[in-house]
């Protein structure tokens, strides 16, 4: 029997709903969702093609009759083609980076925002947040769901927020120390970076007032958790979410930290083989698929997250009955998360196409030499474009650098390499070398 890392209450009784009761609630809400989604032309067509109707959804298992939704679908319905309510009912719009420089938008009604903050409050409370705490939020505030999502969840609990947002790490350390924040909210890699900057300024672990951390927005490991906990002298909790489903709050850890409880009264989760789309048995890694059960503005049916993880339905000693998902162990597409930002190799290609004098032959190498991700893009020169001038090469280099930043929003080091030096395999070229998965680099 695992031991809890701290004592914490349960925020919402719905978290402990007995499984049969929750399945009945899910079935009812699933039918409602299909009914709401039918108001959206995209879903109406997709449901028609699948031969599925709201009336045919009688149990949770009937979700299998429904069509899948992908990121491409969201992109094609740019900007807000998947709205299931009149525009006037919207309360907020968020977005996530897309593959072509355009974000994909997600929308919320007033009630969606209340649902969302309640879900964030659930995992925050499960991870020890109390109303008397002060929380330092170093997530970006903006279209990204991390900043505002956590912000309103913290307020929902009744705790105080320091909306520090990203950047200027020494200043963040100063704010944490001077304002006495007990809780840190950011990406795990940024937490480690804050720890390094604090150490460089002479702080020892435990010197800062921090006691708890709630981290998400990118995949991380148990080793990284241990490193963050040691460096900051805190307890660190993992949470998961994606804007297409709602944002952070889709699932989060309890004090036993044996997986993240999915908020099943609001999301139906499936785990499928990414190739066959058949369900994989519990405990096996597959692609997570979510169907929203209560979202009003933008319900989503069987959204393919591309995130690979496993589900665990064994009872948890914390009393929460929501199925636990493992850490995200990979992606079923080629998306990279670099310093918390989603990057697709196709974006690099798009950037290179804007620059004359480069071939679309490139390799992205990602590593984590310290606490922050570093990305290097190797780009092959075209021999015909090589002149005998440093200035021309430097300009080419700088243009590529600028275009990649403009398209992805991330700074990457650019290396010009000789033609035909990047590995070409039969068929699909190797575009990504991610050293973060293989070791400490």
């Amino acid at each position: 029997m695992p031991t809890p890392v701290l004592e914490s209450p349960i925020h919402d009784p719905a978290e402990t709903l007995p499984v049969p009761e929750r399945r009945a609630l899910q079935a009812h809400r699933l039918q409602e969702t299909v009914r709401r989604a039918s108001a959206v032309p995209f879903y109406r067509d997709a449901l028609g093609r699948a031969g599925a109707t709201a009336e045919a959804v009688r149990s949770v298992d009937d979700v299998r009759r429904l069509p899948f939704t992908t990121k491409d679908d969201l992109r094609e319905e740019y900007p807000l083609g998947l709205l299931a309510v009149p525009r006037g009912e919207l309360a907020r719009v968020h977005g996530s980076s897309g593959t072509t420089g355009k974000p994909t938008f997600v929308a919320y009604t007033r009630r969606d925002l209340e649902t969302w903050s309640g879900l964030v409050a659930r995992f925050l409370v499960a991870g020890g947040l109390r109303p008397d705490h002060l929380v330092h939020v170093a997530f970006g505030y903006g279209l990204f769901t991390g900043g505002f999502g956590l912000h309103y969840g913290i307020e929902r609990v009744g705790a105080a927020v320091v909306p520090a947002a990203g950047g200027n790490t020494p200043r963040q350390v100063m704010l944490i120390r001077d304002l006495g924040a007990e809780v840190l909210v950011c990406t795990p890699s940024y937490a480690l970076h804050i720890a390094e900057v604090a150490a460089a300024e002479g702080f020892r672990p435990g010197d800062l007032p921090l006691r708890l951390g709630h981290f998400g927005g990118e995949p991380w490991t148990e080793e990284m958790r241990a490193a963050i906990e040691d460096a900051l002298g805190i307890r660190a909790f993992n949470n998961y979410g994606l804007s297409e489903v709602i944002g952070p709050g889709v699932s989060g850890e309890c004090p036993y930290r044996t997986g993240m409880h999915v908020q099943e009264d609001h999301f139906l989760v499936e785990c499928v083989d990414p190739d066959t789309l058949a369900h994989v048995p519990d405990g096996e890694v597959g692609e997570l698929v979510f169907t929203t059960l209560t979202k009003e503005a933008m319900p989503v049916l069987r959204y393919r997250t591309r995130d690979l993880a496993a589900l665990d339905r064994s009872p948890c000693p914390c009393g929460r009955t929501g199925v636990r998902m493992s850490r995200v162990v990979g992606r079923s597409d080629d998306m990279l998360i670099i310093r918390g930002v989603n990057v697709f190799p196709s974006q690099i290609e798009e950037a290179l196409l804007r620059v004359e004098g480069t071939a679309p032959h490139y390799l992205i190498e990602v590593s984590r030499p310290g606490s922050l991700d570093e990305a290097v893009v190797k780009v092959e020169m075209r021999p015909s474009d090589f002149r005998d001038e440093m200035r021309q090469l430097q300009e080419l280099h700088d243009r590529i650098d600028r275009e990649i930043h403009a398209v992805t929003g991330v700074r990457m080091a650019v290396e010009l390499v000789a033609p035909n030096t990047l590995e070409r395999s039969a068929g699909k070229a190797k575009r990504v070398l991610d050293h973060r998965r293989t070791g400490r680099s």
């Binding site: 020169m381 002149r387 005998d388 440093m390 090469l393 280099h397 290396e415």
Partner: protein
């Protein structure tokens, strides 16, 4: 009077300089003189060889990125102020220098021989000769090496 120079693109990593030199060596091509320009990201190796066409062909075949440019070889009196006087002539003639380097092939004791990459080599050659600057042609330069 112009000299053909080969410019090679080099990535900034170990072995990048050795490889083209070995390709030329294996082909029996002698390097008359060379210069290396580099930044943190990449470098350009500039070579003057006797058989530039054959050199380019073997380098191309080996996958090296090669560009052919024209440079002028200039004899500069080997005494204090010698180079300044020549550059003064450049300036009088309105000839802009993109880069220059010293040639290993020269007549020791008499003068230094410098290679200049100029904006418009043909026009520059005429103006410099008119200004009394001594240009060295390929045959003469190669005879010294």
């Amino acid at each position: 009077m112009k000299i053909r120079q080969l410019s090679l693109f080099l990535e900034n990593r170990p072995g990048q300089l050795r490889f083209p030199c070995k390709v030329l060596g294996d082909a029996g091509i002698d390097i008359v003189t060379m210069s290396l320009a580099d930044t943190a990201q990449f470098g350009i190796l500039r070579l003057v060889v006797k058989e530039w066409e054959r050199a380019k062909a073997v380098l191309d075949a080996a996958g090296v990125v090669v560009n052919v440019t024209e440079v002028l070889a200039v004899d500069v009196p080997d005494r204090p102020g010698g180079l300044a006087a020549v550059l003064d002539a450049f300036e009088q003639a309105g000839v802009g220098v993109e880069y220059m380097y010293a040639s290993a092939a020269r007549e020791r004791g008499l003068h230094a021989t410098l290679l200049f990459r100029l904006e418009d080599p043909d026009r520059a050659a005429k103006l410099l000769e008119a200004a009394g600057v001594k240009l060295v042609g390929p045959d003469e330069l190669f005879a010294r090496s």
